[in-house]
């Protein structure tokens, strides 16, 4: 185990490819039944080429990755995300974290989740773009896993 230092990166964690069933499962779990996320004809009528994930689904995956990096979610004191791009069925979500500060028994990690994939027909999306950025602040526990320069599962 390495004591985390500012600039240390956590191993990239990839979720997906996102299935339509994953979006429906999250709708049921969260109670977010906005039809733009689950009903493709409705989404098209609203001007989107297809359904897309509610932001809190990739935000949930990113929190999951951060929790695993920090040895569990028990030390979380703050978790914040900003939504930058929609996440589409078929996308992979690659989560990365970089330590920004370690002080007073607290660690702050800058978080990024990239969507990777072709995106829906009708949109010319880049193969990879930032879907969300964020930050987690946690009490430093006994098991923080930093693997500098490594990219694992």
């Amino acid at each position: 185990m390495t004591l985390p230092e500012p600039g240390s990166a956590f191993p990239e964690r990839t979720f997906g490819p996102l299935g339509r069933v994953d979006i429906v499962r999250y709708a049921g779990a969260s109670g977010d039944f906005n039809p733009i996320h689950i009903d493709a004809p409705y989404a098209r009528a609203a001007g989107a080429p297809d359904v897309f994930a509610m932001g809190m689904l990739p935000a949930g995956y990113l929190a999951h990755a951060a929790s695993d990096w920090l040895g569990g979610p028990g030390g979380f004191r703050r978790y914040k995300v900003r939504f930058a791009a929609r996440v589409w069925p078929g996308d992979l979500l690659a989560c990365t974290g970089m330590v920004t500060t370690v002080a007073g028994g607290h660690i702050v990690v800058a978080l990024t989740a990239l969507r990777r994939g072709e995106g829906p027909e009708g949109l010319s999306l880049p193969d990879e773009e930032i879907a969300l950025t964020g930050e987690v602040e946690a009490e430093l526990g006994s098991s923080v896993f930093v693997e500098e320069g490594e990219h694992g599962a």
Partner: protein, 149 residues
């Protein structure tokens, strides 16, 4: 006349934790197995960090809009930011007393012209002893015209 805040309750049920944890791909046993959670220092299985979004089952968007009266046009609204502030994570078996209010409502000039209105809904979740467990800040942005135009 809009209300200042809405009080509601968020039950933290074992089966709901399991369902929610699976929906965000979790495998950590503290979300599924009470024994594992106890070994990690909790009294029962733990709710994942974003679990409080299940409040949508207990306070719908329609009721929120009707009672708090932000007067948003949802054809032009996107989820901009989400923040959680934690004292601890909820555990299975407790019922949290929640209060939602509008904590911020500001209009800014957009970079591409037009106005952007940011509205933040703050939900505070307290335990049976009245101690704050966590706070969730849900920020929506309303664009000055339909985003698909």
């Amino acid at each position: 006349m809009a209300e200042v805040s809405i009080a509601f309750r968020l039950p933290v049920e074992r089966a709901k934790i399991r369902e929610f944890a699976l929906a965000v791909g979790e495998g950590n046993p503290i979300f599924f197995d009470a024994e594992a959670a106890r070994r990690a220092g909790y009294s029962d299985i733990v709710a994942p960090p974003t679990f409080s979004v299940t409040q949508m089952w207990h306070l719908s968007r329609e009721e929120r809009e009707e009672r708090l009266g932000a007067d948003l046009d949802y054809a032009r609204v996107l989820h901009a930011e989400q923040e959680f502030l934690y004292n601890r994570l909820p555990v299975a078996g407790e019922t949290l007393d929640a209060t939602m209010r509008i904590s911020k409502d500001v209009t800014k000039q957009g970079r591409r012209g037009g106005e952007l209105r940011f509205v933040t809904y703050e939900s505070r979740f307290n335990d049976a002893g009245g101690e704050e467990v966590l706070r969730a800040l849900y920020t929506l942005v309303q664009t000055s015209k339909d985003p698909r135009e």
